[in-house]
């Protein structure tokens, strides 16, 4: 299988006033299509920074990022937006649903900037809702839903555009054990269906369910262990 993602010597510095923080230092990482990668590490070690760079909503200070062979560093803001709409799906710890839109409309947002979709919009949205079991809540607003339901809606929004890569930053961090397990099941079934997933987590048991675990410490890669499921 080919590499979907190639990170070469990625470094990310934050400069604020006098202090310079090295959030990521010389990270090189290859991820193949269809992998399910769990990223672990203590708080503040750079996991979110790494995920944001992978998601192109942050740019590395140095290093190269190839996505499916294409160099993203050279891409304009406009083309990066297009890239996100076509290929990426985001899941956040705090769900980040738009308060003023219904669940259906929130999920529809995932198609909004993408252009056409195979099989038509409605089918795609309903299919995504079925996959996460949220269809009966389509007309509700986010604040009317429980945390678990909100996160499932957020996952539906992330997958409705059939992205190549799903980026999840502590998707179970705000959920109880049961809801967390549900989210993991959904992610695993998406992975089985062909999606590449990169997930940040603090839970070893959740990390164990991935196909590979990457450990980060102080902005540096310390281990990348493939696991047999």
């Amino acid at each position: 299988m080919t590499n979907l993602i190639e990170l070469q010597n990625i470094t990310r510095l934050y400069r604020s006033d006098e202090v310079e923080t090295t959030a990521l230092h010389n990270i090189s990482l290859h991820i193949k299509r269809g992998e399910f990668v769990a990223i672990m590490g203590p708080s503040g070690c750079g996991k979110s920074t790494l995920l944001n760079i992978l998601g192109t909503i942050d740019r590395p200070t140095a290093g190269a990022y190839l996505f499916d062979g294409a160099d993203l560093a050279k891409m304009s803001e406009k083309n990066l937006a297009k890239h996100r709409a076509r290929h990426l799906g985001f899941i956040f710890q705090s769900f980040n649903l738009v308060d003023d839109l219904t669940i259906y409309e929130n999920i529809e947002l995932g198609l909004l900037y993408r252009g056409g979709i195979k099989g038509g919009r409605r089918q795609a949205i309903e299919g995504a809702m079925d996959k996460v079991g949220i269809a009966h809540r389509a007309r509700h607003f986010p604040h009317q839903l429980s945390g678990g339901q909100q996160q499932r809606a957020a996952i539906a929004r992330a997958i409705v555009g059939q992205p190549d890569l799903i980026l999840a930053d502590e998707p179970t961090g705000n959920l109880d054990t049961e809801n967390g397990a549900q989210v993991m099941e959904i992610l695993k079934s998406l992975n089985k269906a062909g999606a590449t997933i990169i997930m940040v987590t603090h839970s070893q048991s959740h990390a164990d369910q991935a196909s590979r675990q990457v450990d980060i410490l102080d902005g540096q890669l310390v281990a990348s262990v493939a696991q047999v499921l």
Binding site: N52, K82, R84, A85, L88, D99, L101, E105, E108
Partner: protein, 815 residues
Amino acid sequence: MLRSAFTAFFRSFIRHPLYALLNLLGLSFGIAVFITLSLFYRFETSYENWSPERPHIYEMGTRYHFPGMTEDVFMSAMGGLTEEIKTAYPQIESTRDWSNPVIVHKGAEVYNEQIELVDGNFLTFFGVPMLYGDAATALADPSKVVLSVSMARKYFGTVNAVGRIMTLNDEEGLKTYTVSAIIADLPKNTDTKLDMLRLLTPQRTAMEPYTWHNWGSGQLEAYFRFKTPADASAFARQLPAFTDRQIGQKFGTDVTPHKILELVLVPWADKHLIDPKLKAAIISLGVVGIVALVLALINYVNLATARAGLRAREVAVRKTLGAPPATLRLQFLVEALLTMLLAFLVALSLVELSLPLINSAGGLFLKLDYQTDITWLLSVLGIVLAAGLLAALYPAFALAAFKPAQVLASSRTPGGGRMAGFLRVGLAMVQFAAVAVAFVLIMGFMLQIQHIQNADIGFQRDNLMIVQSIRDNAVSQAQRESFIAAARTLPGVSHAAIANAIPGDQSTSNSSNIVRPGQVDSPTLSPTVNWSIVGEDYFQLLGAKVLVGRVFDAQRGEDQKWADDGAGDKSRVYSVVISRRAAKDMGFASPQAALNQPARFNDHQVRIIGVVEDMRFYNPNQPIPPKLYLFDVHASYAVVGMVRYQGLSEPKMREQLRKLWRQIAPDVPFDVTSAADNLDTYYKPERDRTHLFTIGAGIAALIGCIGLYGMAAFNTGRRVREIGVRKVLGASAGQVVGLLLVQFLLPVALASLIAWPLGWLALQRWLMQFDDAIAMPLWIFPVASVVALLIALVTVAGVAFGAARTEPGKALRHE
């Protein structure tokens, strides 16, 4: 792609109704003030546009360069001026309009009207809108009369009164005329009054032998028409030489006539605002309209950027989902446009609702006519939308520039950074500075207007009736004298007198030189006095203050009498009374020094028997002219009657006088006014404009409050967590309120200080136009600041108390 943006926009409107309402109302108020004052501005600057010839027409005015005369242009011309111009420049097109009083007989009833004696080309010259009859021939012969629609209705009960007969009594006597044409009623924005018109005849001009070709007199309006402005200025350049040729040595041998009497060719379109003070007043009201709009747009920027912060999460999510920045910017601009459009519609309804009120408060005739005003309204809408878009650019770009990674990582609502924070505080300060300036001006205006209305004007203006109809030519001298004598015996009447110096009526004003022995006798160097003829009891009736000497006494032979038209006995010495200002102008060190002094006045010997205090009969904006009074017990001159009364109501007094009039002069319509009403014509325009200004400035202040409230609500909303933490750490609600209030009120306090010098300058300029102005009232500045602060306090106190009462636990859970 924009559909979901609209959905989110309208949902957030519903979810944040307060924000939506503040934003919409603030904008609508601002736009409404802008529309109203634009209407006003357009009304005032579109005078005479009923005439299609307006751009080509010019009116001859005169400016007199005499000592003691104002440099204002008088919009009147000598009766024979156009005749003299026609002889010298046959190619110049001109026409005349001479307003004369006329009595209309309708059955047994008589009515006072004004008739325009005009040249035969008048109707075609102006392109007067005709309903019936032919403009070219309607005034062809002197037996014809042209009526306006309302006159036709009044006297014939129908619009098409062509061919009907009318009996009129004017200077040419009682005659019948045939109605030859009906013209449209002119709109309100005109200084031209066209009710009835007839031909100006040689018989009529022959009745004015002294004035018709007497350079320096002015009785009618002379108009000229030119194809191009260049033709007009070419003609204007010839006027000084023409003036010098025509006057020759009539003003003396050592003077250049055009340097004393300057003919000024005024574009007719500029005539209404020829008074620079009026023009300045109109422009400043226009400025208030623009300021209100700007304040409203500032509100929009403030509230929109504040809300942008609240929507940052949505923006970030959209970005991660691949929304290009350009689309986001477009989305916010479209939102702004929608808001502006909605606000414009709300503003239009506000204007419709408030116009009757504003019209009565401002003495105006404004109206919105969607059919004829559509292009104007669209251009106002265009201005509003363009300004709105400009205002929306900042929030749109600020929003689209949010970095999603940072927004999504933190649970804090971004406020748009430190810059945006400064901007918000800065804009709020601009608003409150404007509000405080408005307060300063409103208070200053009120004080001045109250001052001139209550000021000692040298005589008692209340309980004083003026019987105008005594001046009518149809009233004989015997009738005048018996009316005055009988009026003195009416119950409640303490004095009755005749005079041609009347409070509030400048139409009988005459000016001449007065020369003391040993002084040079020259029209440019000798002092000029404004002179009037007064009868017995005149000064006593007014309650005038006699500074020195005495006033006229009918028992004394030497006071008798000033003959008609200045053709008195040249060997006699006449007694005159002068005013304080006249004594000063004549070079006397004090009123006492003037007593019993001789002088030459209008070719006669006079002796000053007394000096009276200046009396303000006319416009408070203008200096009181120096006065000289001549005595005439017999009411032989064109005089009016004045009646002073006590102890009964004005309507009762009017009724008594009317009854008396009916007995003495039943053929002449009775016409009485009160001196207070007469004088009010000078005070009303200023008062009306102040009302208008107060309304505009008051709404601007309201907009400022809306903005401050929005800012306070937003800032407090963002600080809920901080407040929660402070309370957990032991801060009392009072301390939290104090903290918040200081934060909001400090900028307001600073802004109101900035307002002091601005308000001082503006008020100073405004007061300069008054001859009798109040001293700068310094106390209004702190008061304006305190009022602005109090309003701000009330505005934000609710927000601060609400925030301070929040349970800390709830505040900390807040996201």
